[in-house]
């Protein structure tokens, strides 16, 4: 998984990078909140971010607030990493938009499992988002064939939105995923095909007599 880290302290940053890479993650490194915010706005931004709270330029809390307002389908999962211990601080961090919170000095196994939880949630979000897209597409197709269609009483052509009269076959082909196989129904066979066959037979009979 691609993970963004924002940490101004070089030692803590190096430790984070070492852990995450050891656990098989790809790491995008930033040195402060402003750099992190710039990366997180991009379309291909990492879906999980580990942010230090206290950083120059822009703190982790402000990054959380801004990320929550991004007009994106999937908002990055944020773990706030800080030396602040109090309950009030935890509440403040979560209210700003952090999904999880870890106090320094943290135990590496705790970080590992919290990153795992984050990765699971991101995966679920991604699957859910894909499913919603599929459903929206399906709904769009249903909507295309809904409503009152103006159809000619004689030739059965349908008038489309551009005021163009199309035969039923091409209209449906354009407005749905349906494709056609061609055949003859029993009624048309009796009314159209059979008379033509009989007429052909009748035409052929005198030739045989000769």
């Amino acid at each position: 998984m691609r993970i963004l880290i924002a940490e101004d302290d070089p030692v803590s940053r190096r430790i984070l990078v070492t852990f995450l890479m050891k656990w098989g993650h790809e790491v995008v490194v930033t040195n402060n909140g402003l750099e992190a915010w710039q990366v997180l706005q991009a379309e291909d931004a990492p879906s999980l971010a580990i942010l230090d709270w206290m950083m120059p330029a822009m703190d982790g809390l402000e990054v959380c607030r801004r990320v929550r307002e991004l007009p994106k389908t999937i908002i990055p999962y944020i773990i706030l990493l800080t030396a602040k211990h109090g309950v009030e601080e935890v509440v403040k961090g979560m209210e700003a938009g952090a999904d999880d919170y870890l106090t320094k000095p943290y135990h590496r196994d705790e970080l590992r499992v919290r990153v795992q939880v984050g990765a699971r949630i991101v995966e679920l979000q991604t699957k859910l988002s894909e499913r919603v897209h599929e459903l929206e597409d399906a709904l769009e197709q249903v909507k295309q064939l809904q409503g009152i269609l103006p159809i000619c009483g004689y030739c059965k052509k349908i008038r489309d939105d551009q005021d163009y009269w199309q035969n039923v076959e091409s209209y449906i082909a354009i407005h749905s995923e349906a494709t056609f196989s061609h055949g003859v129904c029993p009624a048309c066979y009796e009314a159209q095909v059979k008379p033509q066959i009989e007429s052909l037979r009748a035409a052929l009979k005198p030739q045989r007599a000769d």
């Binding site: 302290d9 070089p10 030692v11 190096r14 590496r108």
Partner: protein, 145 residues
Amino acid sequence: MCHSEIEITTDRKSTLPVCTSIADPLCAIVDMAMLLSFEEVQVEGEPDVIVELIDIFLEEALHQMSAMQQAIINTDALALKHATHSLKGSSASLGAYHMTAFCEDLEQIAGNNQFHSAGAVLTRLQQEFEQVRQALLAERQRRCQ
């Protein structure tokens, strides 16, 4: 035996753990078990991660202490808070807990905007750092042999 700074750690109302016995790793200048635990994440063929961390820490600590000194001269609480906060985190990560405690003291001083004792605490931090530096350099030399 624990060095004199322990008294400060135990006297102060710190949220950090305090030294309870000679065998306690918190009494050490650097908790070597903590430092050496980074061997777990060493990737084969890559540079020694502990040596790398020691180098980064020694350089960064000097930089942050210089920033603290300047902040105290300027009575700049925000700058002092930033510098102490950063060094507090990195010293704790490498097991230099006494340094962490002094940083926490300075962070509180900055938070309360009461600079009268800041210079003395910074001096203690610098003295502590010198001992930490010796311990880390010894470990570095051992690893690079």
